[in-house]
Every structure is written in structure tokens, then in C-alpha cells.
């Protein structure tokens, strides 16, 4: 290879031999590594450092080293566990709904129906709507006095009085879940549809010739075949859902009575409303830890079914 390079191009004074591959690779990866290193690794190290100190912005200059106290304090606080529980509830409910509805939608879009193109082409729109706009929109729909949800439900006689959906601690979280499910079910459906389309038709036809009905065909042939895609979607959605912040911040700010205060909201409030950066940093680490554990668990799952 080196000789042909020389043959093809007359030497120009600089080194004629190509760089060793490792050097080329280093040069190619360096810019990306620089961006990521500066913005992620350095702060990550600094956050670890911060989490070991008592840093409260209202008392500048007094920042004693307290070891793991910030972590211990969080792990023994009921607020921490309550908000972790809410994040888990949100994660399980929204991911479960998005995945099952998305699978239904994907199967529907895979049917040879007329006007299927219509559904396929508009299904991407909720996903494309910015999260903040989605949250604003549902905040307006769920409004206690002028919201269209109340109007719809009373005008059709399903409920008789307007409900303060977002300021009732029994319903607020569900309203957020509905908004999230509306926006992200299409994403799951699009990914699962791609999975369905990659299923080998011959396998399906053989099963049909053998007399498999739609239900058993789905359960015993299709579902196992698209399981890797289902798992990937599950991983992605779970990790996204657990760190949910934007949609909740816009719709309820974590209220009423902390009923929608997930772990990310709790961390934000600790750091920026309680001005406790040390605890905030520790919380950030704990959240990252949970997400990494989720990622590891799923990667193992994926490795098992992947082949």
C-alpha cells in the first residue's frame, strides 16, 4: 500500500509514508474527544469533588469537606426515596403504555389498509413537537377552568363538574403521563414498525401454512423475532423517562404537594432553590448511578436475546 501511494503521487518533500494507523485514529478521534472531555469528563470529576463538600451558596466561603455525608443524607431522607419512587412510577407507567400502544400502532400500520400512508405520515408529528410546546399544550388542555379536556368530558356527560386535573395530587401525575405517552408512543411505533418490516416474510408464511392464527403467529413467531427491537426501545425509553424533567417542570413544577416531584425535579430544587450545590451534586451522581445500572441490566438482557 505504501509503495503504491508513492507511485501514484510524486514525493513532495514531506513524509512519504502514511502515518501509522493508531496516529491517524488518534487524530480523527481527538476533536470529538476534546468536545466530550471538556464538557462531560471535567464536570463529572468536579461534580464528584463537589459532592464531598458542604457547599451552600447562601454561605459562601464556608465549604468544609464532609466525605460521603451528602450521599448518606440523601439515602436516609424520605424525600429522596419518595421522589425516586415517583420517577420509577412515571418510568414504568409511561414506558409500559408507550411500548404497548406503540406496538399496537406499529401492527396497525403494518396492515395492508387503505389510507395507511396517512397515519404513517402524520404519526411522526407528536414526536417532532418540542417537549416544551407539548407540555404547554397539555397544560392548556388540562386547565381546570377553560381546558378542553374538561369541556369535552362534561359536554359528553362523562363527568359533571370541571376537574382541576393538574392541581389535584391524585390526577396530576397521570396527566403528565398522558402528555408524555401522546408525544412518545409514535416514536415507539416508528421503531417497532421498522422491526416488523425487517421480519422475514418467509418464516411468517411457513407458519401460516402450518395453520397458525393471527394471535399465535404474533406470540410465537413475530414477537420473538422483534424482541431485540422491543428491548432497545425499552432501554431507551426507560433511561429517558427516569431522568424526566422538562415536561414536569412546565406542567406542574413538581406540585401539587410534591406529587409530581420526580428525582430530577428534586435534584434541581435542592440545588437551585435550596442553593445546596453539594447535595445537588451528590443527587446528580445517584441519578446517574441508577441510569447506569439500568443500562447495564438491559445491555445484558440485550446480549442474551440479541442472537
Amino acid at each position: 500500500m505504501a509503495t503504491s501511494t508513492v507511485l501514484a503521487r510524486p514525493p513532495r518533500g514531506r513524509s512519504k509514508r502514511p502515518w501509522p494507523e493508531t496516529w491517524v485514529a488518534a487524530a480523527f478521534v481527538a476533536p470529538a474527544a476534546l468536545v466530550v472531555l471538556l464538557i462531560v469528563i471535567v464536570p463529572l470529576g468536579r461534580a464528584l469533588w463537589m459532592s464531598l463538600f458542604h457547599i451552600v451558596l447562601t454561605r459562601p466561603g464556608v465549604e468544609p469537606f464532609i466525605g460521603l455525608d451528602n450521599y448518606i443524607e440523601q439515602l436516609t431522607s424520605s424525600d429522596f426515596w419518595a421522589s425516586t419512587g415517583r420517577a420509577l412510577f412515571f418510568t414504568v407507567a409511561s414506558t409500559g403504555l408507550e411500548l404497548s400502544l406503540g406496538l399496537g400502532l406499529a401492527l396497525l400500520m403494518d396492515q395492508p389498509l387503505r389510507f395507511r400512508w396517512l397515519l404513517r405520515s402524520i404519526i411522526i408529528l407528536p414526536w417532532a413537537l418540542p417537549t416544551i410546546v407539548n407540555a404547554l399544550m397539555w397544560r392548556w388542555i388540562d386547565n381546570a377552568e377553560y381546558g378542553s379536556l374538561n369541556a369535552l368530558l362534561t359536554q359528553t356527560g362523562i363527568i359533571h363538574e370541571y376537574q382541576p386535573w393538574l392541581s389535584n395530587s391524585d390526577t396530576a401525575m397521570w396527566m403528565i403521563i398522558i402528555a408524555d405517552v401522546w408525544k412518545l408512543t409514535p416514536l415507539c411505533a416508528i421503531l417497532l414498525l421498522a422491526g416488523l418490516q425487517s421480519v422475514n416474510r418467509e418464516v411468517v408464511e411457513v407458519a401460516q401454512v402450518d395453520g397458525a392464527g393471527p394471535v399465535s403467529l404474533f406470540r410465537h413467531i413475530i414477537l420473538p423475532l422483534i424482541m431485540p427491537v422491543v428491548l432497545v426501545v425499552l432501554v431507551l425509553r426507560t433511561m429517558e423517562a427516569f431522568k424526566v424533567f422538562d415536561i414536569i417542570w412546565i406542567m406542574t413544577h413538581g406540585g401539587p404537594a410534591n406529587s409530581t416531584q420526580t428525582i430530577a425535579i428534586y435534584a434541581y430544587q435542592t440545588a437551585y432553590q435550596g442553593f445546596d450545590f453539594g447535595r445537588g451534586a451528590a443527587l446528580g451522581y445517584l441519578i446517574a448511578l441508577v441510569i447506569m445500572v439500568l443500562a447495564a441490566v438491559y445491555l445484558r438482557l440485550l446480549g442474551r436475546t440479541g442472537r
Binding site: V42, W182, S198, K243, I250, I291
Partner: protein, 303 residues
Amino acid sequence: MAAGSVLATTPAERGLPRRRRPRRLARSAFLYAGMVIALVVVLAPFAWLLISSVAAPVDLLSKPLRWIPEHITFDRFVQLTVGSEPNDQAQGFRSAFMNSMVIASAVTALSLVVGTLAAYAFARLRFPGRGWLILAFMGTYMLPPIALILPLYQIMGALGLRDTPLALILIYSSFVTPFVIWIMRGYISTIPSELDDAARVDGCSRLGALIRVIVPLAAPGLLSTALLAFLMAWDEFLYALILTSTNASKTLPVALNDFIGRYGLDFGQLATGGVIAALPPVIIAFLFQRYIVAGLTAGSVKG
């Protein structure tokens, strides 16, 4: 899609004589009903957002609610976008729109360049620590922003970058770049390596092969990735909420968050801001659907 659906099990779809007509009818009625419900559920909230943005306040605050407004006004759109003598809010909204445009475009350009370079190395070159590095990039992509935001807030403050678009461009690039690497690495591995070997035999350097051979062949993949990168940057909220404080760097999500505080019950105004903020991504998604879907599935189905 001549092969039909994987669940197409009616006799006609299998090319067998039609025998069970009533069952087939019931089945398609059920499917079409599902499709209509899906269409309504997807479109109704959009419709209400659009109606709210042009309905007069009287209509929005009517009880019982009037679904079709009696008075329609485009004043809010004019006021927020092109109206002369914009008030403070309109001024803020316009600069937020520009900031979002500048930031999302810069992030897309920066992360596409550095990400594609790294993706090429990961797809084509062998070097020590390769697998480990890929994992490190993916790990950073999964990190929750809340874990990084406090030190970044301090670091950006120390560098004098707080409340500048540059801070957001750098931060967004740090999570968009791993995404670009992920997608483009997969894309580049599908291109036969004989092609860039041939280019190198003809005297191209590695970089030359990447630019002259891979980039043109990977153009659809690059477009998918660029669009998704733009949408990711357009959507980001938490970093922007914490790191911006004036019109100099506030992005649309932050401006909309401010709207909630300012306009209280004026949902017409909120809806108008929302519609305008949603237009670029919605238009992109609609026009470039094929590429978006390709990018999304490349990231998860093949990966």
C-alpha cells in the same frame, strides 16, 4: 410492500380463495376503526393548539367551550413575529428564535464534523483502546444532564461564558456528538471498505478518502443525522434554563417557560408562541420524514 403485512392472515392476502367473508369484514372494520381513533388522537391536540392560537380571548374563555371560535385573529402571530414596535415579550421571543436557530445550526455543524471524523476511525481503523473509547462516548450520551449541570454552571461562570450562546453550543455538542458517532459509525460500516482502500491506492490520505469517498456515499446518513442533531439541540431545556438569563442567549424553550409566568391566563399568546416554536421541527419532520425515520431506526434497530 407487495408482501403485505406480517400478520396478514386473511385468505385473500394469502392468495387463497375467499371463504370467510364475514370474519374478514369484521376484521377490517376493527382495523379501520383503530386507524380512525389513532388519527383523531394524534391530530386533536394539534388542532386545539392551532385553534387556541388564532381564537379571540372571548372564545377561549367561553363556558361552555366553543370549539369553533367565532372571532379569529392573527394579531398575536403578527405581534410576535413581524409586527413593528414589538413589546418586550415579542422582542424576547424573536431573539430567542434567532438564538435557537444559531445554536441548533452551530451544534449540528460542529458535532457532525467532529462526530463523523471519530465515527470513521471507529468504523475503519484498528487502534488500542477502541472498544473502550466507544463505550466511553456512549456512556456520556446516557448521563443525565442533572449530574453535570452544577459543575458546568460554575465552570461556565469562571470562563465568563454564562449567558452566551457559545456555552450552549459547546454543551449541546457534547451530547449530540456521541449520537452522531453512534449513527455514523453504523452507517460507514455498511459502505464497503474496498472503496476507500481504492481511493487510498490512488493517492488519497485517510482524510481524503473520508471526504471524497465516504462523505458522498454517506450523504443520506449524514442528512438523517444532521436533522436529528438539529432537533435535539432545538428541544433542549434544562441546560438553557440554568445557563441563560437574558435575551443574549435565551432559547425558545426558555422563552416559552417565561411566557407561562408573564401571560398567566392568556393561553392564546402561549399557544401562538408554541406554534411558532414548533414550526421548524414539525416542518423538518414532515418534509424529511424518510431521513428522520431512517436515522431513528439506525440508532436503535440496527444498533
